[in-house]
Symmetry: C2
Subunit: 348 residues, 2 copies
DNA sequence: CTGAAAGCGCTTACAG
DNA sequence: CTGAAAGCGCTTACAG
C-alpha cells in the first residue's frame, strides 16, 4: 500500500503501445479490439491480439464513449438502496442487462428532490445511455419541472428513459397496477367479512403512496365499507413507521390492517403482537410487495405480490430493445394475493 | 416517446458553444466551469456563467475524466445487491462519498468468479478512481491470481483499493473482526449454559464463511464444548438455506443454533417454529449481522451486530482521504451481541 | 488575465 | 486490407 504513490507514474497501455508492438497502425488495432466489421487480415489480427494480450491492454471506455457517444452505462435512481424492494429490482435489471455489456450507476435519492436532481445531472454528465426511474416520483412542482426539462434534453440527444415506478416521466415503461392490486387486497379482506379495515399509508410526497391510498379509499367505498381518517395513518414505508402507525390505528376497532408496503406490515405485526393482539385471531394484517422476508415475518405475511425482480428484468429487456433502436411496447405486470398466515375472517 | 429518433440529431452543448456565445476562448470557459484556480476577470466570468446558464451547459465528465485521469467514479463489488446486508453497506458508502462528487458503479458478482472478474475489468476500463471490495473473496486459486494481477495494475496507475470484507486483496481496509465476534456469540451462549451448539455455515467458497466457521470451532473447543460434524450444516447465506440447515441439524439434541448470518437465522427460526419447536424455550437461535429486519423476525432475533452501514461510511471516509493523497490508517470495527428474544438458558 | 495549441485514448470516414 | 488524419469535449502548460 505504501508504494502506491511512487508507482503511479507508470503509464496506461493504450492503443498506440499495442500498435507499436504489433507494428501496425492504431486504426488497425482499434478495428480488431472493437470487433469492427471493417476487414482485417487474419495474420494481422493475430499479431494485434498477441500484442494486446502481452501488454494486458484494456481499451479505455471513456475514450471510446467520447467518440461513439455511447457509454454503455445506465443510471438508475432508487429511493433507498438499502430497502430490499429496490435491491431486488436492481438485481433483476442487472442480471438481464449485464450480458449486453452495460454497467450500472446506482443512486439513492433518499426521496430528496435536490439530491435526485443532482444525480440526474451527474448521469447526464457521464453520458449514460439510459436513465431508469426505479423510484416513484416526488410530489413537488419545482422538482417536476426540472426533471421534465432534463429528461427532454436527455432524450433529444438520443438517450432512452425507462420508468419502473409511478412516475410522471414518459418513456418506456413497465407498468405495475398499484390501483387494481390495492383493490384486490381490499376485496380479499371484504370477502372474508372484514368491514373496518385500517390502512397504513406511505410518505405523502410520493406518487405511489398517493395512488395506493386513493385506490384503498375507492375500493373500500365501492364495497360499502367504512372509510374515515381514524382508520389511516402514515408509516413512511419503514419498519419503525409501520409500528407507530399500527399503534395509532388499532384503537379504532378495525379487524384488519392493510399496510401499503411489507416493511410497514412487518413493523405493524411486531408492534401489534407486542401490544398483546393476536394475528390473525384478533386482527388480520396484509402487506404489499412480497419481499423475500415476508415469509419470515413475525407471522408469515399475507401480502400483495409485486413482481419486483421481474419489473427490473422486464425493464432491462425493454431497455435492450430500445437501445437497439426498436420501439418496444410497454409491459404490464399484475399483482396477486399470496396467502400466508396473517389473515383470517373477523371474529363473529 | 415516438419522436425520440427524429430529435436525436440535436447536438450536445459543449464548451465551444458557450465560448462562442460568451465571446471568449474555450480555455476561459473551461477555467470558470471547472472552478480552476487560474485567474479569470470577474466580468468575463459573469459572461461565461450567463452563457452557460442560457445554453443549459453540462460539462462532459467523460472528456474531463479522459484528460485529468480522474473519473470521479468508484466501482463497488457486492455479492448480491438484493441482500439487505449489501444494500445497507452501499448506502453508508454512498451517503458519505456523494458530497465529494463521486458516483458509484455497483455490481453483483453473484459469487461467481468469472462474473466478478468481468466487472473488475469493466471498472478498470471506465477508469474508476477506486475499487471497493464489499464482497468477501472467493476461494478459487485462478480467480485469486487474476484479481491480484488486476489490482496491482490498477494501483500502479494510481487507483485506490478499499476492502470492506474478508479479502486477500491488500488496500485500505475497514476491518470487522469476524473471528472475535463469532467467539463473542459462542461465549454468550456458553455462559448461559449451552453445551451443544449447532452452527449454520455460509457458502464454503467464501472467505468470510470459512473464517466464521473456523472461529466457531475454535471458540467451542476453547470452552470445552462439543464440536462435531452433525452439529454443522451449510445454509448458503439465504433464508431457504437456513431453513434446510436448521432442520438438518436439529435432530442432534443441541440447545442452541448459531447461524452465520441473519438471513439464515430467520429461515431457521421459521422452520424450527413450524416443526413445533419453541424459541427460545426449546432451542435458542442466534444470528449474525443485525439486519434491520432482525427485529421483526419470527421471534425477535438475538444476534451479533455488524455495523454494516458504518463499514460503508467509514470506508468512504478512508476513501476520501486516500483519494486526496493521504495515507489514512485502517479502521477497526467490532461486533457486539444485541439481545432480543430468541435466546434463553437451556432447560435443565 | 486571455488564448492558441497540444494532447487524453479512442473511432471512423477517406484515400489508396 | 491498411493507414494518415480529423475529431469527440475537455484541460493545461506555455506565451503573451
Amino acid at each position: 500500500m505504501s508504494n502506491r504513490r511512487t508507482l503511479s507514474a507508470r503509464e496506461r497501455v493504450s492503443l498506440r503501445a499495442v500498435a507499436e508492438l504489433a507494428e501496425v497502425s492504431v486504426a488497425t488495432v482499434s478495428r480488431v479490439m472493437s470487433r469492427s466489421s471493417h476487414p482485417v487480415a487474419d495474420e494481422t489480427r493475430k499479431r494485434v491480439l498477441a500484442a494486446a494480450e502481452r501488454l494486458g491492454f484494456q481499451p479505455n471506455q471513456l475514450a471510446r464513449a467520447l467518440v461513439t457517444a455511447r457509454s454503455q452505462t445506465v443510471g438508475v435512481i432508487v429511493h433507498d438502496i438499502s430497502d430490499p424492494y429496490f435491491g431486488e429490482l436492481v438485481k433483476g435489471l442487472e442480471d438481464e442487462i449485464r450480458a449486453d455489456g452495460y454497467r450500472l450507476f446506482v443512486a439513492s435519492s433518499d426521496r430528496n428532490p435536490a439530491r435526485e436532481l443532482e444525480y440526474l445531472r451527474a448521469f447526464e454528465a457521464y453520458q449514460v445511455d439510459a436513465l431508469v426511474f426505479a423510484a416513484s416520483s416526488l410530489e413537488d412542482p419545482a422538482y417536476r419541472d426540472e426533471v421534465e426539462t432534463l429528461v427532454e434534453r436527455f432524450e433529444s440527444r438520443g438517450g432512452i428513459t425507462l420508468v419502473l415506478s409511478e412516475h410522471f416521466v414518459e418513456g418506456h415503461k413497465v407498468h405495475f397496477d398499484n390501483r387494481s392490486s390495492t383493490a384486490v387486497a381490499v376485496d380479499y379482506l371484504a370477502d372474508l367479512g372484514h368491514r373496518r379495515i385500517g390502512f397504513i399509508a406511505g410518505p405523502p410526497d410520493l406518487t405511489v403512496s398517493r395512488h395506493r391510498h386513493q385506490a384503498f379509499q375507492e375500493a373500500v367505498e365501492k364495497r360499502g365499507l367504512t372509510y374515515d381518517d381514524s382508520l389511516v395513518a402514515e408509516g413512511s414505508f419503514s419498519i419503525e413507521g409501520g409500528k407507530r402507525a399500527a399503534l395509532e390505528i388499532v384503537s379504532g376497532g378495525e379487524t384488519a390492517i392493510l399496510a401499503s408496503n411489507d416493511l410497514m406490515a412487518l413493523g405493524a405485526s411486531r408492534a401489534l403482537l407486542d401490544a398483546g393482539h393476536r394475528i390473525p385471531q384478533d386482527i388480520s394484517v396484509v402487506g404489499f410487495d412480497d419481499l423475500p422476508l415476508a415469509e419470515v415475518a413475525p407471522v408469515p405475511l399475507t401480502t400483495v405480490r409485486v413482481p419486483t425482480y421481474d419489473i427490473g428484468r422486464e425493464g432491462a429487456i425493454l431497455l435492450r430493445r430500445a437501445l437497439a433502436g426498436e420501439d418496444p411496447d410497454d409491459v404490464h405486470l399484475v399483482g396477486e394475493i399470496v396467502e400466508r398466515r396473517s389473515v383470517a375472517a373477523p371474529r363473529a
